[in-house]
Symmetry: D2
Subunit: 333 residues, 4 copies
Amino acid sequence: MAPYPGLLAPLRLGLAALCRRPLRQGRELSTPATPGTSLDLRGIFPPLATPFTARGEVDYGRLEENLHRYARIPFRGFVVQGSTGECPYLTPQERLAVLSCVRQALPPDRLLLAGTGCESTQGTIAMSLSVAEAGADAALVVTPCYYRGSMTSAALIHHYTQVADASPVPVVLYSVPANTGLELPLQAVLTLSQHPNIVGLKDSGGDITRLGLIVHKTRMEDFQALVGSAGFLMAGYAVGACGGICALANILGAPLCELERLCHEGRWQEARDLQLRLIEPNAAVTQKLGIPALKQAMEWFGYHGGSCRAPLRPLNEAEVQELRRDFSANGWL
Amino acid sequence: MAPYPGLLAPLRLGLAALCRRPLRQGRELSTPATPGTSLDLRGIFPPLATPFTARGEVDYGRLEENLHRYARIPFRGFVVQGSTGECPYLTPQERLAVLSCVRQALPPDRLLLAGTGCESTQGTIAMSLSVAEAGADAALVVTPCYYRGSMTSAALIHHYTQVADASPVPVVLYSVPANTGLELPLQAVLTLSQHPNIVGLKDSGGDITRLGLIVHKTRMEDFQALVGSAGFLMAGYAVGACGGICALANILGAPLCELERLCHEGRWQEARDLQLRLIEPNAAVTQKLGIPALKQAMEWFGYHGGSCRAPLRPLNEAEVQELRRDFSANGWL
Amino acid sequence: MAPYPGLLAPLRLGLAALCRRPLRQGRELSTPATPGTSLDLRGIFPPLATPFTARGEVDYGRLEENLHRYARIPFRGFVVQGSTGECPYLTPQERLAVLSCVRQALPPDRLLLAGTGCESTQGTIAMSLSVAEAGADAALVVTPCYYRGSMTSAALIHHYTQVADASPVPVVLYSVPANTGLELPLQAVLTLSQHPNIVGLKDSGGDITRLGLIVHKTRMEDFQALVGSAGFLMAGYAVGACGGICALANILGAPLCELERLCHEGRWQEARDLQLRLIEPNAAVTQKLGIPALKQAMEWFGYHGGSCRAPLRPLNEAEVQELRRDFSANGWL
Amino acid sequence: MAPYPGLLAPLRLGLAALCRRPLRQGRELSTPATPGTSLDLRGIFPPLATPFTARGEVDYGRLEENLHRYARIPFRGFVVQGSTGECPYLTPQERLAVLSCVRQALPPDRLLLAGTGCESTQGTIAMSLSVAEAGADAALVVTPCYYRGSMTSAALIHHYTQVADASPVPVVLYSVPANTGLELPLQAVLTLSQHPNIVGLKDSGGDITRLGLIVHKTRMEDFQALVGSAGFLMAGYAVGACGGICALANILGAPLCELERLCHEGRWQEARDLQLRLIEPNAAVTQKLGIPALKQAMEWFGYHGGSCRAPLRPLNEAEVQELRRDFSANGWL
């Protein structure tokens, strides 16, 4: 019934060859959460950057090395194919290969969320099926946006319902207006929060009032709100978010987990002191200088960042200096 | 040197006649804060709504009655001529008469802030002089915005510096993009925070990351950040704001002061429960249904709201029902 | 019934003393158009800049000198108190004094439109009465915008209807989103076009499709569309506009009248060649560098521009060079 | 060197089987324009809608039937994979199959432009190579937009230069802010207009001043401006555009070609009368009701429209009535 059923099938062949370690037997196909089963999203998730070789190919070796370093940080899990991973610049084959590589490198107790949002409903469903098969614990589904004038609340509710009905793994909604020019309407979030296979929302918009209202209006549902940026992580915890998917966690993962702990323990003054030092570094690697800056800063902190795919451009020297200042002025370098 | 020195002088005549009680001797001229002297803004301030008679005239008697009821609530002070007061619809004479009336009705320990922002620098200075003379403790100065394309950071820094140099009372910056279409740039805020007669900022934009960064970057200055809307009051306290100027305080003043107390005492879980119940009522009387809704809800809670001046329109029946639901669904009615 | 009936009355005293020539007898009070009588707006109108002295006062002498030079250009008329005139920086007294001065300096066959839009309906009515008495042929009424969230189509229709009912001179609607952050909704324009005392619209938004649709949908009414910027004047004529109120006419009035003539005569190729050379100079003195640039360029072309009132800032040297290039690269300097 | 060289290669197999007629020998590979050779874009191009079967598959038969009817209209050519074709909802295989089908159905004198814009530069190059091989005469390249914060003028110039260097067929730039949230900056357009393999721009933004300025500033280049919407087609011709790629041409192709003819012959009054009747129907099938409305209206005019792929939703009954009114009120139904 799907108009393009065969699209992704051949992509799954030979993925194991791309990664160094053998596929763990069975996990991918046997353990995805049953739809409706709650998935505990409490904690910090880095949306993983994708390292490339000098020739512009995905560098799976360096990706694994990053993951080995991240293993020492008490992250709840990881996201592949988020905005930070340059997902729109990867081929479908690469998307699944990256996912498979990450799945193998992770301890089994870490969650793995995979971005599966495509413009079409059918494409999103197909990708959700594929990532479930490749070992993802949940699908992170960005709003379709190209025909934003037609993406009414009703259209988006229909889209996400179809996806959640079909997905073998739970669905996390994803609203990121800075990239999509579209905010998932509050009413759509509230309606979709009642779907048994929709377990949460990553909200990157930064409107803390909206985030609080979502927490308030979904309090009777099994629905978890995740902060989409380190800039308002503490404020998010204050109003009831359960965790964060934060690009900055690629660089300053330990402090973000520390911030989470301080909030949970009610040590708000210490939390504030830490949070305020994170705003400028976070802004620098997101809205101000973007992914090239994130990858540059990763290098400073011992991770493999490397270059970006075009049309993203490397930083110029002035931008590198500005980036360094945003970290050093806050005591991180 | 001022191009229109005489504009406001005649307006001051006969203000006493408008209010029931005699002008308290001397206060207006003798007690305005010396520039550079710190003014403690910690706490909640209602930006007072202006009641009108059936004929559309300012109803000073009902305004005083509201103030008598507000006296039982531990507000830090009050704002006249904020956006909520329909200030753009008042004549200069009315603006000063309202101020004078409020000043007289207030106990001396309550602060009185007066909006003085005009499009021109000279007009703003003239109004700041007038409100100081009439008893205001500080001037709340909204960004000029008609020529917003020319309102660069440099132009706004120049404007506010001129105003703060001339004002006999301390200046509080006021950024309210929903009304002005203009956000006071971060860099301008930071520069202006160093001026000895600029003591704080009311930020109504709702960007909690920006608010946190302002707190962080002005921590070495004598500068206080005030939340401009009840929707993110608790989040504002979490990142270091010192108080709030909240339209909703015209209606639910006691709960807002309670929210402040819970935040100060570190009772964040209780604070959150209260904050989340305030978001919908607040949205209803601000961005959703505006001042006509605020005045309608005031009536339900025992205050005098009354009608608005045109072009603001009364609510229709469906809007009244919607407004009521936003209060009742959160346990306030 | 008006809440502030006396506001403008005393301002009218002694206006004659400000201008060199005696008031022409009777015109001001006897000849304003009867409501419902059509007013022919076809042609080009400069929205007059306001020259100031070195001390920041309105320089009525230089204003008259500009008008004497403008008399040689076949303008249909003039606008006072438009955005270009720094109207928000003038006191009500100054606004009427400028109007009176211009009225006296003009030949009787030139129309005089006066900006009368205030935030409140009553204030707009009061100002419309005053300008009619002072000799304006029509009132140009900008949209109120401070409470833009409440400025629905219904609220704006009510506002303009009240104003048009009360105004002794015809009303021209004025939509200028770059300054107000608000576009007068199409539906409001269509409804208001049926009012007998509303004779047209100045649309500065630049959406030529909208302008065409307004022409099309009001073709059965006595309603005239005026282009609000020289950048799309020819396109406006192409879709049926009747003229333009263009800031650039303060500087390049003759070429704009020539462009009008070419369009009327169907000489579209010549019109295009001329139009295209006007876009960059126009952009420079409006959205790019604003009124300070307009006044600087006026000096180059033999008019008195002078400085602006604060918070508008003078151009720096780099901006002056950029401004000069925008004129010289198109053959005007 | 391309990171994913093999992505599209297998897709080219067996395309002939999808269409009824045999591939015309040689054309696809032998006649694409040599880079640098001018391609005459003067005229009207429909961006073809893609009919689907009831099961959601591309209906190549009905697509061909539409093309047979379109053959009677003096279009300059056609666009496949534009926004109107639901291109983001097609798989890469489908995109090429549609292109191949259209190429075969067209007389050789009609141009065929194919949308090839992907988020990544490499993906856009790969798609441009593929469409050239499949018979497209030019590549229409929409701006990448997901990381819009990083899509500076410099980044976009680099992107388009890489694509134009690599593409075997000429490149047409495509700026459509309503879909992408991004306008190709003027400076980027001017720089890119000098590239020998970039022959024009489709501008759907509707800013006629900008369009005029682009015509003016590229007059020394071999560069053609195409209007991206029927709403401002005549205004575009007035300021020097050479043609239009207009969604409405799927429905009212003959009147659009007639409008073109009237403009070319200088019959501006007749042109205006026609243009003004096209604005509402065009708005209805684009920004107001979108592609579902376009496809519905196609049915009324004898073409095959059919349903859309999800998440686009079918019109409800009220929307169908509104759509019908927008055509009938202007004399088209």
